[in-house]
Symmetry: D2
Subunit: 383 residues, 4 copies
Amino acid sequence: MSDRTTIGVGMVGYAFMGRVHSQAWRSVGAFFDLPLAPRMAVLAGRSKERTEAAAAQLGWDAVETDWRELVKRDDVQIVDICTPGDSHAEIALAALEAGKHVLCEKPLANTVAEAEAMVRAAEAAPGKSMVAFNYRRVPAVALARRYVEEGRLGEIRHVRAQYLQDWIVDPEFPLVWRLQKDKAGAGALGDIGSHIIDAAQFITGQNVVGVSALTETFIKERPLAAESAGLGATGTSATGQVTVDDAALFIGRLSGGAVASFEATRFATGRKNAMRIEINGSHGSLAFDFEAMNELWFSAGGGGFERILVTEPDHPYVGAWWPPGHGLGYEHTFTHEVKDFLEAIATGADPTPSFADGLRVQRVLAAVEQSAAEGSRYTNVED
Amino acid sequence: MSDRTTIGVGMVGYAFMGRVHSQAWRSVGAFFDLPLAPRMAVLAGRSKERTEAAAAQLGWDAVETDWRELVKRDDVQIVDICTPGDSHAEIALAALEAGKHVLCEKPLANTVAEAEAMVRAAEAAPGKSMVAFNYRRVPAVALARRYVEEGRLGEIRHVRAQYLQDWIVDPEFPLVWRLQKDKAGAGALGDIGSHIIDAAQFITGQNVVGVSALTETFIKERPLAAESAGLGATGTSATGQVTVDDAALFIGRLSGGAVASFEATRFATGRKNAMRIEINGSHGSLAFDFEAMNELWFSAGGGGFERILVTEPDHPYVGAWWPPGHGLGYEHTFTHEVKDFLEAIATGADPTPSFADGLRVQRVLAAVEQSAAEGSRYTNVED
Amino acid sequence: MSDRTTIGVGMVGYAFMGRVHSQAWRSVGAFFDLPLAPRMAVLAGRSKERTEAAAAQLGWDAVETDWRELVKRDDVQIVDICTPGDSHAEIALAALEAGKHVLCEKPLANTVAEAEAMVRAAEAAPGKSMVAFNYRRVPAVALARRYVEEGRLGEIRHVRAQYLQDWIVDPEFPLVWRLQKDKAGAGALGDIGSHIIDAAQFITGQNVVGVSALTETFIKERPLAAESAGLGATGTSATGQVTVDDAALFIGRLSGGAVASFEATRFATGRKNAMRIEINGSHGSLAFDFEAMNELWFSAGGGGFERILVTEPDHPYVGAWWPPGHGLGYEHTFTHEVKDFLEAIATGADPTPSFADGLRVQRVLAAVEQSAAEGSRYTNVED
Amino acid sequence: MSDRTTIGVGMVGYAFMGRVHSQAWRSVGAFFDLPLAPRMAVLAGRSKERTEAAAAQLGWDAVETDWRELVKRDDVQIVDICTPGDSHAEIALAALEAGKHVLCEKPLANTVAEAEAMVRAAEAAPGKSMVAFNYRRVPAVALARRYVEEGRLGEIRHVRAQYLQDWIVDPEFPLVWRLQKDKAGAGALGDIGSHIIDAAQFITGQNVVGVSALTETFIKERPLAAESAGLGATGTSATGQVTVDDAALFIGRLSGGAVASFEATRFATGRKNAMRIEINGSHGSLAFDFEAMNELWFSAGGGGFERILVTEPDHPYVGAWWPPGHGLGYEHTFTHEVKDFLEAIATGADPTPSFADGLRVQRVLAAVEQSAAEGSRYTNVED
């Protein structure tokens, strides 16, 4: 262990994503035999006090209050971007420019144009880059892809993907930044719809080539969030407009001839994180629901669905962990992500999902929005 | 019992639907306290020999080889139409004209025009009429409607309905009549898609008002079926063209503001009769899968989903049958159907689903086909 | 059909079991191609008026108010005993003596001695005899047996069987006859425990050879039932003693070396008819729960459990019914039972479960009671 | 954070349990706001080289090759015992004697006598002590206990607990230490049966007061494990005797009047870590299976079972982690364990499960073995 080269990580942002990325960096070396030992070097955030507290709790050695400083530091070789989508492009471009490796949270950017710039920069830069579609590293999802690659499903006919949550069902839930287009880029579509697009493309090995879409905002005005209220309103009853979609539904076609159905919503009462995908092929089918993330359901040859407990040593990533039947949790998907990223850096391989993969998702999102705006007209995804 | 008035039933067709309708007529009186005792009077079919054999096995007192004769008989007050869709309109119109009550299998007709004529005839005729969307009489589906009516779901936000089968996945499966547009009207869309449209409208009490659709025929040529081959081909390798959809996907809107997603396919390997519907409202959600037809899943107020075993005496239709936990099967939905039809006849009430309900489904099917033909453009359902 | 020989059935009792047996006799000929056509000839019950009403509703041609008369009738070749256990022996002996075939509800009798007498009579008589352990004819249970016979499970190691209901959880539930030892013989043990013993022996092909048991009566006094109250008490608060077990638990060994665990209770709140059995063998495992009676779960070679929807044409009994995915219900187990009984009569085969099988279950029940009475001491089942 | 007092941890053993305990110590501070910050000070193991490698990978600052040295160190305040059961007593006694806090893996000891000595030492010593029945800290299990405490189940009638694994089904699986009585104390009974006894007692708040038991060793001889073979045999076909149970079944009674059924086995083909418990009370029921560890099933008042996804902020331990629907894994149970232990140390409270709780489980195990040895006779658990 002691003779492993260490590699410094600098992370920008310490909210939900920062917390889970920290756990990944903290744990990965204890479970995987890595060619590079990550060092949790620097954490960047705007407030010095809060960033220091976060660094102390999460285990980062130093802090910066300006991400531009973090990007320049010599003890940082990997920049891990855990901020909202509106700053991804700027930080990633600067980090790549500075010769760093970049791990960027999803969606890659808030617009196709930004994403394109990021892809160009990534291709030109010496550093490795990866977009954090963590659901690819759920062992069951990785096993699904393996099954498709092995031909166990035959020709893919159907993809049926949903990402269902319910956290804004209450009309009194406030107008947080995720409900504002300028900050979040999109609503359910970008936040969670992007995951199921990526998962569908990853598992099937096919691209979404065209879509027909509907979007809806059920609650058009909401109370201002406490912080916003303080700035923009004097009364407690101040409300603001929701400028993103609450739900997005689209149907479409994949490059290999399958038809597909997608739905992303935060109004599915009782569904908490139901990232579900079912794939039907000419010889077999698969079904997955993240709410039971250690299970993959597989039907061979039209037979019943087998509940595969994806906890066997020969299942993807699982050998590093616990004995059969001892399940993993949400955070492990990130641990697997940084493990693969570190290995790619060490070996010089190109990590996936690449920024180009992230752009491909972005283009599907753009086609969805365009179709929804044009009477659900079938819209080709730009190549 | 002996003082109950009897009512004569004449059934046209004795294939799959005729067999299950026979079981319904045979059983209904033993379980429900009916105002009218059905008498299984006459069975009509084209071949005298085969119709007589069927009548003997299924328990019909007499046979006719021309449905026109059946319709005229004095001992027939109810005409039960169990033929393919291309003859529904003609038989129903004649039966209504003859003053009979008419129970007609779904879909109501193969075209909107036929269905419209049937609705006009039904409204003008003295007899009662009903279209046999039997899934409304699954106790769990009827309970779902009750829950919506009672307001337990609040405002409906999402409908997510699929009808998944896999019986034609094999490209060697022959070109049966259900794969020919002139006989079947449509493919998966009309045969099973019609059921989920009706179920969605029934449970929510809302109409589908617009759709955007894709259809696909995965296997475009198939071997001729043995019988067709004998007529139209000399070699065993003769094939014919599939002229209906293998799968239909559509998204749309309901009259009450919900968004909806529908899918009907016969290519979902491993799914045998997965007529599934999930409904999310502002206060609760429901989920149902016919493959587990005695269960309804209900989430109240964002809590977990409760698996309601729909076998309690106070659940719809269930009190007539067995103790809790002793489930019902597919055929019972038809027994419930004829029970409700007999009661409506006896009391003079208008049975549902009416021919008008059948027409409404037909118009959704037409809008789906139009949208699919016009680049998935959002298409309003005719009123 | 017309040239089939008919065979007259006389049924004794028309309560729950009589209703479901009637549905079986009424339906069986429409679905199975039988060598003998059953005729629902005579129904026997004590009250003329109520028996006539039941016969009219259930479809029996004639009535008797004394089962002794039914047993003598020439138009009765099969006597179907649907009374409580305390009259099984007397009726069966008389019917066998009269040369009739006998189908007898379970448990075979209330005591081992009675059951022994019945077995002797059955072996001596010309008529065929069968005890109605209907759960053997759940298609999923019959498929389970087939899998064991085919060796798919390897050596059987474990049987884990439970029959869980909850209908007497409420202490105010009255003292019905099933809670009185003189009428019911035993409580949960005899009523539902007998089913899981038979199912375990049937599926594994092994006998229970010894047991260690506990029984419990949670509610020792209950209000008298309305009818009893009228006879035996003047006030509404009259109570009587529960003289049977509310729950019985036992562990034991099977003849082939497996260990087994059994539990029968009517106090499992929320479980309605959870007749569950799990079997683990050296090469595979099976699990079944009657609350989802169309499903059998099978694990091969230590892999995940496959949910087999037991609705395929090649599954036991299923070919006679509906297409895949269109499930059956509780009553179909009885239809399968009379189908097999009629075939055995026609071909001269010995139907199963035989009275000897019923006696074997009775002896297990006796060993359970003896063990429970003797400090749970391991007690061999008499051979 | 910086002003928190740190507390030094010394861990003995670095195999499976050591790895998961390390992850707990490593992670706990990042998620819970702790009064004491654990420092991973010393790891003890026999081989210097392997212990150093483990320390490097798992993140321990120093190593010892003799646990006696670890126990003496000033930088160690907590001794965490992750060795096989035959050394628990000796290490724990020494650590308590040295004034340390002790966290000891389960089962507490290999005999009741050892466990009694440990309880006496724990009661006399200044340090806190805890036995690591980690399943108490599955959020769903902790929620189950909360429900019982709140009276939602009413009077407990039934406990039905199983711990099913299948890792030694293959007769060629070697004779590892867990199959040798002198090292492991017992087989499935002690290793996994102890967990379900503790869980049953924890959730219900009642003790097991008597048992009737069967045990079985299906495979009586096995190949020697590679390491043992090297020492004790010259040929590759050398085998040794399995001296522990492969499976243990017992039924019994709880102090509050419930009856209970337990089963522990490593021969349940297809079950990987099915630690299952179902509890039926007069007003409600609960069911849990560790293979779906983020779910608790609850039936209120005889209604259907609700699948509670135990990922809500107000569920035990969950608020520290991720948003709803983002499940936890096996290792989190240990993180919760050390969190509670650290809090107890800081506040002076007595942590649970205490050594006395561990002894209580040990006494049940002893009664099970005694009953099995004496013809399953009902055996009281010593008080």
